[in-house]
């Protein structure tokens, strides 16, 4: 059986007494189910491998874990070394990243092994995002920096004390409040929002700044629609700004002006917009705000379609495809296995780990990756191949080819003869 593909809204607020995370139907707005216990901090909700729902507890040093299909009770708590300020899991479900104060902790989900503690930020990390192919991740912090990390280089076994980030995006002048990473793996673009009233669009692979848009207010949240036609920025005054990315101007630094082509303002919230999300088809925009409401907007007409009142500041909201077993439980057989105990400290030495019930550590060694051939090399190869064929026909090589062809033909004919002989001899000797 397969559950119908259905998009749902996941949302958390900071002070609801009973419900931690509520799941709503995107189209009807009906409340589908809710996960209980605790409350989740901002940017602290993530769905791990379609099986577990993880939420960082507000103001405490643990992460709540639910089995997606057992909403009524919490499965376990993961104790962390400090208060978790942001949480993300890689889309392939293998890694979990949590920002704790100035450091980013990266765990391997299957073993609970703490792979790396990255402390390149100088102040609290405010957000972390993986690219959709889990190859890179980006962290944004209150020290105005955003860092792009390559996952493979971070988790390499035999590297020095602290791996270096791939790029340092250092053009913001006040803390970064939100990041959004587009699709297309390492070729994605990432948008960063900051209190310095700008949103900047970067290229992940090169670390280049593509666009910087200046607003009148500090921007607290940002998202892109799946096609990356529009950029949505939630301001600290409750307005949501839609920026068209298709405009023709080549200006790198722009000032936001509404009602110029495609740039619009969604007005409705009365307090800062803490989170934004766009539906899969790019028609609906979900926004959560500190005025304790969630609003669903029709992007085309810029109207608020629906407004859900919450109990407190909305800390997380997201539109996502419902995991198959979220709405139609598959029974206890399919229950997600509990997560292993997550390490709180880096394994100090290798041999100590080795004694531990013969675990095998699987990680990439440094420089074991084979160099990929570049496009230029490929074209050169192709070119040489092409020219070699023509060269051959032009020079005396044609004859050799012809000889080879003839020899092939002789070989096949011989084979046919042989077959014929066998067949006939078989026929003759049979009776």
């Amino acid at each position: 059986m397969s559950a119908p593909v259905m998009e749902v809204i996941l949302s958390t607020d900071c002070s609801s007494p009973l419900v931690n995370c509520s799941v709503l139907d995107l189209l009807s707005g009906a409340s589908l189910l809710s996960y209980r216990g605790g409350s989740t901090s901002s940017r602290g909700l993530t769905l791990l491998d379609q099986r577990h729902l993880l939420g960082a507890q507000l103001g405490r040093n643990f992460i709540n874990v639910w089995d997606v299909q057992r909403k009524d009770q919490m499965q376990q708590k993961i104790l962390c070394p400090g208060v978790v300020t942001c949480l993300a899991s890689s889309p392939n479900g293998l890694y979990l990243a949590a920002g704790i104060a100035e450091s980013l902790y990266l765990w391997e989900v299957s073993t609970g092994c703490l792979l790396a503690v990255l402390s390149r930020h100088y102040q609290d990390i405010s957000c972390v995002q993986f690219t959709d192919d889990s190859s890179h991740f980006i962290t944004g912090a209150k020290d105005n920096l955003a860092l792009v990390w390559r996952l493979a280089s971070v988790i390499q076994l035999d590297q020095g004390p602290s791996p270096d980030p791939l790029h340092v995006l250092s053009r913001h002048s006040l803390p970064i409040t939100d990041l959004h990473c587009g699709l297309m793996g390492p070729q994605a673009r990432v948008a960063s929002a900051s209190l310095d009233q700008t949103v900047k669009l970067w290229e992940v692979c090169s670390g280049e700044l593509l666009l910087s848009i200046l607003f009148d207010v500090g921007i607290m949240s940002v998202t892109l629609d799946p096609c990356e036609y529009f950029l949505f920025c939630g301001g600290s005054d409750g307005n949501i700004f839609q920026v068209s990315l298709c405009s023709q101007s080549l200006n790198r630094d722009q000032t936001f002006q509404s009602d110029s082509d495609g740039n619009q303002v969604f007005k409705g919230h009365r307090n800062l917009v803490s989170c934004l999300s766009v539906s899969m088809d790019g028609t609906l925009l979900l926004s959560g705000s500190h005025d304790e409401t969630l609003r669903l907007w029709d992007i085309q007409s810029k109207q608020s379609i629906r407004c859900f009142t919450q109990k407190g500041h909305v800390t997380n909201c997201a539109i996502m495809v419902a995991p198959a077993n979220m709405l139609a439980p598959l029974g206890s057989a399919a229950a997600a296995a509990p997560l292993p105990r997550f390490q709180r400290h880096l394994a100090s030495s290798q041999h100590a780990e080795g004694q531990d019930s013969g675990e095998v550590c699987l990680r990439l060694g440094l420089y074991t990756q084979e160099e990929e051939t570049t496009y230029l090399q490929k074209t050169e190869k192709l070119f040489s191949l092409m020219t070699s064929v023509t060269d051959k026909t032009v020079s005396g090589g044609g004859e050799e080819m012809r000889v080879a062809e003839l020899e092939d033909e002789v070989r096949t004919l011989k084979k046919i003869n042989k077959d014929l002989y066998h067949f006939s001899s078989h026929l003759l000797t049979k009776p």
Partner: protein, 944 residues
């Protein structure tokens, strides 16, 4: 025989002269009696091809004279050409190709004067013709140049260098694009290729057989050393041109290069705006990304038109690291040999006690040798290859360098024997004119430092055997910086480069501290130029940014001291030098965002001065710096009460724009605990009480002193109170009014998001009651802003108190009266102000319960004088015409009726005036309209 004799007699017949006879007329006598006249064929004599020299020679004649066998003719032709071209620049465009080819051909002329004239003409041509127009002829020129450089006659070789000078001066790019041939020529000028058969290597030390050896030509006019010096000087300049013409890659800022400290570019490439026409000819390159763009491939710089012709061998140039390495392998031994010879000749007449003192000649040779070495290092096409090249230099030549250069390291000029360590700048000895620039020992030592430091190894990479030879270098750098002697910008740049490399490569903390302290001493000097100062500043900020990964830099005390001094400097600088201030602010911001404790505590203690509303840096600097200053506020650990007072005054005083004031308020809002933005470990910076009072005083827009002063202000500056406007309004300038209005909007927004609205309104009400109700003179912007704030923040559950209501009603009435007068005076200029006042009044009247009633109650028509009646009438018309107010008016029908009746009664003019007619009409319309919708609005009555 006989006939012969006879003939002879005929020839020598004796002339008989007799007295009295006339001399017979000679047979061959010419008759000179005729007279001649000239025939002028003037139209045939006229020249067809335009301008000529003073010798009446046209360009064709002159060019053809260049092929003359006589040197003087050629020389005069060249001079004539120059004269002609100076007079007629247009000729140049027509005949450029011919001129260039002909002039280039005489580079190799045997006559020195001709060559000199040719060089002069070439210089003139180069001045007139820009590089892009000379480009098509350049292969020809350079071919002739190499021909001259390799000529067998030494005179021609020498003059070829002058030609090269001209080209280096005017066409460095063109020259640098084809380095392969020229480099070989240079080598041949000072050395000769040793044929491999005869090359029994004299020095067994050399592992590979060297194919070049220094040559000595005894026939030369100058000594071998001087000749070498001139050649090396040109070679250095040429290599420099090659390096400079390299496409720069400034992107990776962490790698030190020459431009790092000086340039304040913030990385990043220009947007890719491709224009094929431009691309075809320009030198811009398109970076092509591969492998999903994960890293730029080294050889992917795409150019539509390659620089080299297909014929030229690319590999022989300096395009790849290997090529550079090969070239260096040839050149460096030669250079060493040159220096050894120079120093050897020097030491023959030099006593042993002053081994570090060298003759100026030798010094300038060494300087050239070193600067060529320096350029060689930079020749590597890419940054990553530069490291490889450095390592190669180290492995190949470190021992040689140590032996030859480092033995007597801090060199001094010979004629200053008393000061061995400190080279004296003033007493420089004259160096021969051929060497070009004079070389001073300081410059020499600095260059040597830079060359040698580049060879040093990372300390953690291997055993530290470098210490021994790095020590004198370090001492020299430290002493030079710390002694506070005058350094030129370039020297300082080189020194800082050396410090940078020493600090990054030697990972010992003490050494780094030592060097940085020396730089800091230099930095603290008073009379530095702006350029130098900003160079030092950017050096420090760059080295501060190197902190991650370099723990020995991270905890540096010198850096801490430097950071802590920054806010003080910013204070002291004031508005005198905005550019330097901007740099300071950038550095402060970088450190503040990293939470550097030294800086933050210093910033905290200087905050009140920096944000002083009168002479703080935050209000004096240009807008861009102001914005950064305001952003800095976010990082302050505490916002004490006094600072908030200054900030509030900054917001309201109008020295910073309304937008910046709004962002200032927003930042303060973010740092308060009421904002809801997660503070994390940082914690709230200010107390809630302080925050609310900050908001209220910003809302007021005037300090209490200002308001108190206003109360006693002379009457002519304010609008005096009357019965219609019970408050005396102080008219603010339009600019100030709009500024205040914008600030009020932002404050209202902050107050709205404060949390419980009823409590918030309660606080506001109390504040108004306490501070404002007793005022008699109120600025109009304050009155309007107050009405706006009250109507926005009103909470129905908390009814406004009586006193506040009365004050608001007074404000409202006064503003309406002002509105009516403004409408009469200047309708166009004050549109914005009127709209703002009107919207404030209306929204207040609509939303605040019982305000309208209080307003109507306070109208005592009976006491008004005759002139005020029409004014009141107009006010009422305005109110009546506003449809959202109708339902409210309806509730107060009785009061309104009373007022209208009074009005009609008191305006007992003989004719009914226009305003009264209007008023009665509006009134009737409103009432009629209201009665139809009356039933729907019954609920409103309950509100009152």
């Amino acid at each position: 025989m006989k006939s012969k004799r006879k003939k002879r007699q005929d020839d020598f017949q004796k002339v008989k002269l007799k007295v009295g006879k006339k001399k017979p007329r000679a047979d061959n006598a010419t008759n000179t009696t005729f007279r001649s006249k000239g025939i002028n064929l003037s139209e045939q004599l006229k020249r067809e091809s335009g301008p000529t020299t003073h010798r009446q020679l046209g360009i064709n004649d002159l060019v053809s004279q260049l092929h003359h066998y006589n040197g003087n003719v050629k020389q005069s032709a060249l001079n004539g050409l120059r004269e002609l071209l100076v007079k007629n620049p247009t000729l140049l465009e027509q005949h450029l190709s011919r001129l260039v080819s002909e002039v280039a051909a005489v580079f190799t002329d045997k006559d020195a004067n001709v060559r000199m004239a040719a060089t002069r003409l070439l210089r003139f041509l180069a001045q007139c013709v820009p590089a892009e127009r000379a480009a098509p002829f350049f292969p020809l020129l350079s071919a002739h140049l190499s021909c001259a450089m390799t000529h067998i006659e030494t005179g021609i070789q020498e003059d070829a260098l002058k030609v090269l000078d001209v080209m280096l001066e005017h066409y460095p790019a063109l020259l640098a694009s084809r380095p392969s041939v020229l480099l070989t020529n240079f080598l041949e000028l000072i050395s000769h290729r040793r044929s491999s058969s005869t090359g029994g290597s004299k020095k067994p030390l050399d592992t590979k057989e060297r194919s070049w050896a220094l040559s000595v030509n005894p026939n030369k006019a100058v000594t071998g050393q001087q000749w070498r010096l001139t050649v090396l000087f040109r070679l250095g300049r040429f290599l420099q041109a090659v390096v400079e013409e390299r496409p720069t890659e400034d992107r990776d800022m962490c790698v030190p290069s020459e431009g790092v400290f000086g340039s304040d570019k913030e990385g990043g490439m220009t947007p890719l705006d491709l224009n094929w026409e431009e691309l075809t000819y320009s030198r811009t390159e398109v970076k092509v990304y591969e492998n999903s763009g994960a890293r730029p491939t080294p050889h992917s710089t795409f150019k539509l038109r390659p620089d080299v012709e297909p014929g030229a061998a690319v590999g022989e140039g300096l395009g790849s690291a290997e090529a550079v390495q090969n070239f260096a392998a040839t050149l460096v031994p030669l250079l060493l040999e040159v220096w050894v010879e120079a120093s050897a000749t020097d030491s023959t007449w030099n006593s042993s006690e002053g081994a570090n003192l060298i003759h100026p000649d030798a010094m300038s040779i060494m300087f050239q040798v070193l600067s060529i070495l320096q350029q060689l290092r930079k020749l590597a096409p890419h940054r990553d290859q530069q490291d490889i090249l450095d390592a190669w230099f180290r492995s190949e030549y470190l021992d040689n360098f140590k032996q030859h250069f480092m033995k007597n390291f801090p060199y001094g000029a010979l004629d200053a024997p008393k000061q061995k360590k400190k080279p004296d700048l003033k007493r420089m000895k004259q160096v021969p004119a051929v060497t070009g620039p004079t070389v001073e020992p300081l410059g020499l030592n600095i260059t040597l430092c830079q060359v040698m430091v580049a060879l040093s190894q990372r300390q953690d990479a291997g055993p530290d055997k470098d210490v021994e030879w790095l020590l004198p270098l370090r001492t020299f750098v430290r002493d030079t910086l710390a002694n506070g002697m005058k350094l030129s910008y370039k020297q300082l740049h080189m020194l800082l480069d050396a410090v940078w490399k020493l600090a990054l490569k030697e990972r010992s903390r003490a050494v780094t501290e030592d060097l940085l302290a020396a730089v800091y001493i230099h930095y603290q000097q008073r009379n530095l130029t702006l350029q130098t100062r900003s160079l030092l500043l950017s050096f420090f900020s760059k080295i501060y940014q190197q902190e991650p990964g370099h723990t020995h830099i991270a905890r540096s005390k010198v850096l801490g001291r430097w950071l802590a001094a920054l806010p003080v400097q910013l204070c002291q600088l004031g508005h005198r030098n905005p550019a330097l201030s901007a740099r300071l602010i950038l550095s402060i911001q970088a450190a503040a965002s990293r939470g550097n404790k030294d800086l933050l505590s210093s910033l905290q203690s200087n905050a009140c001065r920096l944000y002083d509303p009168q002479e703080g840096a935050a209000v004096l600097l240009p807008a861009q710096s102001q914005q950064r200053m305001i952003q800095l506020l976010y990082f302050l650990p505490h916002l004490p009460h006094t600072l908030l007072v200054s900030l509030s005054r900054c917001c309201t005083a109008g020295r910073i724009s309304a937008g910046l004031a709004a962002s200032l308020i927003r930042i303060v809002h973010l740092r308060s605990s009421l904002s809801g933005w997660s503070m994390g470990s940082q914690g709230a910076a200010l107390q809630d009480v302080d925050y609310v009072s900050f908001l209220f005083s910003t809302l007021t827009g005037f300090s209490s002193e200002d308001l108190a002063a206003l109360q006693d202000a002379p009457d002519d500056s304010t609008i005096p109170p009357s019965l219609l406007s019970p408050l005396s309004l102080y008219p603010t300038l339009l600019e100030q009014f709009t500024h205040h209005w914008d600030v009020v909007e932002e404050v209202c927004h902050c107050l709205e998001t404060l949390g419980s609205q009823s409590q918030c309104f309660d606080i506001l009400q109390n504040a108004i009651c306490k501070y404002l109700c007793k005022l008699a003179v109120v600025p109009d912007s304050l009155a309007a802003g107050l009405l706006r704030a009250v109507s926005r923040l009103l909470e129905l559950s908390v009814p406004p108190s009586e006193a506040v209501l009365r004050f608001l009603a007074q404000c409202c009435l006064s503003l309406l009266a002002l509105l009516v007068t403004l409408q009469q005076e200047a309708p166009s200029e004050t549109t914005h102000k009127r709209e703002a006042i009107w919207s404030a009044c209306v929204s207040a009247l609509c939303s605040v319960p019982r305000l309208l009633r209080t307003v109507l109650q306070s109208l005592r028509v009976g006491d008004l004088c005759e002139e005020e009646l029409p004014q009141l009438g107009q006010m009422l018309v305005l109110i009546l015409q506003h449809s959202p107010l109708r339902s409210h008016l309806l509730v107060n029908t009785a009061l309104l009726q009373h007022v209208i009746q009074d009005l009609t009664r008191y305006s007992h003019g003989e004719t009914r005036e226009q305003w009264l007619t209007d008023l009665l009409y509006c009134y009737s319309v409103t009432m009629a309209h209201a009665s139809t919708t009356h039933r729907g609005n019954l609920g409103l009555r309950d509100m009152y």
